[in-house]
Subunit: 140 residues, 2 copies
């Protein structure tokens, strides 16, 4: 896989750098406004960089949020084999690395016996930090 080792272009670096600095997923227009001073002026420049970074697996798109997050799994060299947990309360996103679940998804085939090229799985719940903030007694 040598796409992965190809050096990034200027705009791709700028965009990736900003995404990696953020703990939470970021939105395209938030990226834009934050990198304007680096010479990126318009949405297409951001979206092109995002497309490429997704293609080489450096970042992933969080579909339910229209947001983008850096890959935390070193061997994600392709898009579309992604598992996330998403907190409904603070919207923090964690990429899940679970060999057993990977295998279950990889091996899944539908009724017609068709195997799939990729998948995206998003789990929703309340993260530990948010659970502590809202103890059971205040939940109804």
């Amino acid at each position: 896989m040598d796409k992965k080792n190809k050096p990034l272009s200027k705009n791709q670096k700028i965009v990736l750098d900003f995404i990696q600095k953020n703990k939470k997923p970021v939105k395209a227009y938030s990226i834009l406004s934050n990198v304007k001073r680096k010479g990126i002026n318009a949405p297409p420049q951001v979206y092109r960089a995002l497309d490429k970074l997704i293609e080489i697996g450096k970042i992933h798109r969080v579909e339910s949020q229209n947001s983008f997050v850096a890959c935390k799994v070193s061997d994600c060299d392709t898009p579309h084999k992604t598992i996330f947990s998403i907190c409904n309360s603070c919207e923090i996103v964690s990429e899940i690395k679970d060999p057993k679940l990977f295998k279950q998804l990889k091996d899944f085939s539908d009724n017609d016996g068709i195997k799939f090229d990729g998948y995206n799985l998003e789990f929703f719940g309340t993260c530990k930090a948010c659970k502590n903030k809202q103890p059971e007694s205040t939940q109804h």
Copy 2:
């Protein structure tokens, strides 16, 4: 679960009816233009109906397509427990009903032992029909 049995409002019926008539997922603005003659005039009317129909599990949102599809699994009375297969070529979407996979997802908990309220899983591949149209010899 008595939300499910509550009669739908006029706009909810119109929107659900249109979605159910379509084999493929439909987009919000396509719904709008197709139900204009039924007295739905503006986006908020469509989106409100969609939100409610999703909430009661009559339809689901296909996150990767920004589209909406009728539920094909009779006991989906909640949102966010959904599994789809999506053809990359014709974009047809099928809701998957697979007890084994349901169980694997239901039982999944992350490293912190946190269980999740819901999930959305989208598989990507090429459907049978599209595979037949493009036999291996023409693929490279």
